[in-house]
């Protein structure tokens, strides 16, 4: 049943691209999430409005549409900019990988800002007040009080998001990035064995999500060490 017609290496290459994509998006997602959460909780009305509309818009639009918009629209935008700078007509291709990173970071960042917002609100107010009373600056409060605890409150949400992220990488195959699903598509097409190849792809994704679940379980345990259960 698992005769991959000598394309096992290709599937593994695809798997590596998927893993690379996930790990590249992760830091962007966290930074955008933190910025979004700070904007939503900001004292300034304009920042709050920007934060809110960003999450509302992104959460209401299918991921696939965002990916297509960035892939096709991004090429045109970069081309226009290049033409403006160089003054002559330019031909630009954005690699599928980086437009995928941009699209996924944009989408997951919106969800992450919800997670971080909730986590920031979960930090006891007394601690912030105590920090202010000690004379800490807002930056100090963020790095010394908020960030270390944010991690613990946000982990369950981030676990969920990372699961979604792993699954969403499959969508990048639509714009031709050679990750697991695209490799399976190529194999299925040339070897006329779609069932085998798509089954392999599904099992690979299942393995990725399972590993991520186990890793996050370990991280959650580690993050809440020293905290007694009520």
């Amino acid at each position: 049943m698992f005769d991959l017609y000598g394309r096992g290496d290709q599937m593994i290459d695809g798997g590596l691209v998927t893993i690379k994509l996930c790990l590249t998006v992760l830091p962007f997602m966290i930074v955008i999430g933190l910025l979004g959460a700070s904007a939503k909780l900001s004292r300034h009305k304009v920042l709050r409005l920007i934060g809110e509309s960003y999450t509302v818009i992104i959460r209401g639009i299918p991921e696939l549409l965002v990916i297509l918009l960035i892939y096709f629209g991004g090429t045109i935008a970069v081309q226009k900019i290049a033409e403006l700078i160089s003054g002559e007509s330019a031909r630009v291709d954005i690699p599928a990988f980086w437009s995928g990173v941009a699209a996924l970071a944009l989408v997951q960042g919106a969800f992450a800002s919800e997670v971080f917002r909730a986590a920031m609100l979960a930090i006891p107010k007394g601690q912030i007040e105590a920090a202010i009373a000690c004379g800490m600056t807002p930056t100090q409060i963020f790095y010394r009080i908020k960030l270390p605890q944010l991690w613990r409150f946000a982990l369950p949400g981030l676990n969920n998001l990372f699961q979604v992220l792993i699954k969403d990488t499959a969508l990048i195959s639509v714009v031709g990035l050679e990750e697991v699903l695209r490799m399976a598509q190529i194999g299925a097409g040339t070897e006329k064995a779609p069932f085998t190849f798509y089954l392999t792809a599904m099992l690979m994704f299942l393995a990725f999500t399972t590993v991520s679940l186990i890793a996050f379980h370990y991280l959650e345990k580690r993050a809440s060490r020293g905290i007694t259960r009520a």
Binding site: L64, A170, F205
Partner: protein, 248 residues
């Protein structure tokens, strides 16, 4: 810029409207049948017997652990080919249905929605206060009556916000049907882009339509939530601030 938008909307609004129709159709059917299928799954999932739990557990695990797009390709190309290989099926009258991507999309979306909703329902059933179930039993209700009159109404109340999110998730999931040549909203937008090479205008028009659907859905589901919680006693805020003579 706006000339292009007007041009796209003027010339191709028919495609977008047809796409909207198909999107809504896929959404409604997937949510209804997915939720119906989720009920037995969720009940089996809350069973204390391991062998009863095992089947829904693995079903939910596989469908939640793999990308929807992979599931869709698996159904349409993988299972589709297995069916096509059956002797004589391509000559029979069923073939017109069996090669139509519509049914494969629906089947995938229904199963996927069922897996996600079952997991939400499991949480809801587990969170029904045990005192209420014990009271129902003490009143002599059969397990079926307990489910019908106590557990389900309570469960819907508990899961409704999460369920709303999941319906929106399913709406966004229907956009994947465009990858197997279905002309729903995203598919229509892609066709317009292929025709006009105006990605911003087409995709943003489709995006705005999705946003409107999400807005309407959220609004409607909020109304239902109010209805579901109509019998709840309103929590009286006991910590009313004590009024003092000194006010800022």
């Amino acid at each position: 810029m706006f000339e292009d938008l007007i041009y796209v909307l003027d010339k191709y609004h028919g495609w977008l409207i047809q796409g909207l129709g198909l999107t809504l159709q896929l959404l409604v059917i997937s949510v209804i049948f997915g939720s119906l299928l989720a009920i037995p799954l969720a009940i089996a999932r809350t069973s204390k017997k391991v062998w009863v739990q095992a089947v829904p557990f693995s079903f939910i695990y596989v469908f939640r652990g793999t990308p929807l797009l992979a599931q869709l390709f698996m159904m349409y190309y993988g299972v589709g080919q297995l069916i096509a290989n059956i002797d004589g099926i391509q000559d029979s009258w069923t073939w017109t249905y069996l090669r139509n991507p519509y049914w494969y999309c629906l089947l995938t979306f229904v199963l996927n929605t069922a897996a996600y909703v079952a997991e939400i329902m499991r949480g809801g059933i587990n969170n029904v206060p045990s005192g209420e179930i014990e009271a129902a039993r003490a009143c002599g209700m059969t397990p079926f009556t307990t489910y019908r009159r106590i557990i389900f109404p309570r469960m819907w109340q508990i899961i409704w916000p999460a369920y709303t999110n999941d319906v929106i998730f399913t709406l966004k999931a229907t956009s994947l049907a465009s990858t197997v040549t279905m002309m729903e909203l995203t598919g229509a937008a892609r066709k317009i882009v292929a025709r006009t090479a105006l990605p911003y205008e087409a995709f943003i028009s489709a995006g705005v339509i999705y946003l409107v659907i999400v807005y309407v859905l959220t609004f409607g589901f909020k109304g239902v939530e109010k209805y579901l919680r109509r019998n709840e006693v309103r929590q009286v805020n006991k910590k009313q601030p004590v009024k003092t003579g000194i006010q800022a």
